[in-house]
Every structure is written in C-alpha cells, then in structure tokens.
C-alpha cells in the first residue's frame, strides 16, 4: 500500500517535470553558425520582464516569445550583439540585462558582495586573533574529587 503510494507520487512529480518542457521553444533557422550562437547567447542574457527571474530563452510568456522573435529578426538582418543589446536597453532599461553595465547606479550591485566578503573576513580574522586564550585552571584535590564523583 505504502509502496504504491510512493509510486503514485513519483509518477506525479515526473509528470510535473515533463510539463516544464511541454511548451517547446519555436525553432529559427540561421544562415550562419555564428548567428545561431549569438542568438542562443543573447536569449540567455535577456531577462523576461513578465516573469522576472527567467531569461527569455526559458520563458513561455508571450513577451518572451516576441523578444525572441525580435532578436532573431535583428540577427538575421546582420545586427551585432551590441545592436540587439542597445535596442533592448533603449526600450526596457538596464533591467532587461542579466549582466547590467557597470555605472554609478549599479556600483553597489557590483562592488557590494565582494566588499562585504572582504569586510567580514577582516572582522573574522580580527575576532579570532583577539580571542583570549583559554587559560588552564588548576584544580585542588577537593575539586578533583567532586569531578570524579560527577563522572562516575
């Protein structure tokens, strides 16, 4: 009984994971391999603005589909990587990029994490060095006796 329940659950989750791939991505054909590589690279780097934690390669949202089409059309007309990125940024802002450019507004974003890591390492080392060494305490005969009693 328990076993069949597990099987049922297992098949349920397998079915769930299948549905992730059900909405298959449309296929575009390119003239050159470079264009195709560029397309694949770009759709991994552009964020879907409807479902903000997915790139447009992964997303099934209508907008992601449209942006893939736009990317495809631009590349097959000979646009470079920068052309496509500039086109998207002009319309959706830096937010559309998973790798935002380094500028005043994004300084904290880029510098913050390594800065915090260094700072916490610094304080950790400082703390460990300053920690007083645990002094060894001499026990007299009475105390030893009570310790022995406790350990019995």
């Amino acid at each position: 009984m328990k076993h069949s329940m597990q099987l049922l659950l297992l098949s349920f989750f397998i079915t769930l994971s299948l549905s992730l791939y059900a909405g298959s991505i449309e296929t575009y054909t390119f003239k050159t391999a470079e264009q195709e590589a560029l397309y694949k690279e770009l759709i991994k780097e552009l964020r879907c603005l409807v479902c903000q934690n997915q790139d447009i390669a992964d997303s099934n949202a209508e907008l992601a589909k449209d942006l893939r089409r736009q990317t495809y059309e631009m590349i097959s007309k000979g646009s470079t990587r920068d052309d496509v990125v500039n086109y998207m940024v002009a319309r959706y802002g830096d937010f559309v990029l998973y790798r935002p450019p380094f500028k005043m507004k994004t300084v904290l974003l880029w510098v913050g994490p390594p800065l915090f890591l260094l700072l916490s390492l610094f304080f950790l080392v400082k703390f460990l060095r300053n920690r007083p060494k645990t002094a060894e305490i001499e026990l007299d005969e009475k105390q030893r006796e009570s310790v022995r009693d406790l350990l019995k």
Partner: protein
Amino acid sequence: MKKTHLIPLFVFILLSLLLYRGLSLNSRNIPSPFIGKPAPAFDLPRLYQKDQRISVESMKSQVWVMNVFASWCVSCRAEHIVLSNFIRNHKVPTIGLNYKDYGTEEYGNDVISWLAQLGNPYTAIAVDTEGRTGIDYGVYGVPESFVIDKKGIIRYKFTGPITQKAVTEILVPLILKLRQEPA
C-alpha cells in the same frame, strides 16, 4: 561593555531597515527609459475603421494619453471605469493601444464585444496585433499608460491598473500642468 560590541547591533538595525524598505518596493515598477524622450512613432490600423490609420503624428500639439489594453487582460477590466471617468471628466484625448488581442487578424471580435460591454472611452483605438509597437514602448505588463506632452515627449508612465488615487494625485495635476506648457 566595550563599544565595539554594539557594532553588530547597528549593522543588524541597518540591514533590517534596508530589507524593510525592500518589502514595500514594487518589483514590477521598473524605471522606464522613455521619460523625457519622444514617443516612439507608430502607424497602425484603427479598430473600427480598418482602412484608416492612426499615428503619433496625428496627436501632435495636445496633451494626450496612450493606454495599452487588451480584452484578455484582467487588470484592464479593473482599471476601465477609473480610466473612463478620468478621460471623460478631464477631456483627455486618449489612444487605446489594443495590444496582442485574440482574433485581431479580423480586427478584433473579442475586443469589440469587450468594449461593447464596458463602454469605449478612447478617442481612437490602434490595433497592434503582433505587439511590435508594444515592444517599441517597452510594454511588459498590460495595462500601461503613457502621458505625452504637446511636443510629443513622454512625460510619465504608469504601469499596472490605474487607481483613483493615482488619478487624483498624479495624473490630473500632471495633465493640468502640461496643458499650460507651450506647444
């Protein structure tokens, strides 16, 4: 007690404040790169007059609003009455951009019944079947509304369903101010 012991407390308070602020931010409100830029040109067929076209150019020298909507969009239904009252009460010329509506190959059966049921507040409706004009305006979540000044510059963008609060606090004062500006 040494003063340095208080440092973690301060760091904790600071971090809490930062995260608390983050809770009240709306992650869908992405800053629009269009504010202060000319409204991207479009030239689209009109919903009720298929042979006529509507463009940004035709709205020149007036303060107008472009509202992106679709019959499949639930929040559009929610904002419809607020938007309609705003348009009517303040006589705001408004273009409805009918964005990727179903069946718009035949110029909109769904949207026509939607408007018949809820009322049509728009001055004109532009049909954007493939969503290309939508891309030009950086549309990512319908409904969206753009306020465009007499010179054709986008001055404000509202993402999501317009609320009565937004109308009285933001849109009306802005429209009145923009109307004072020279064409």
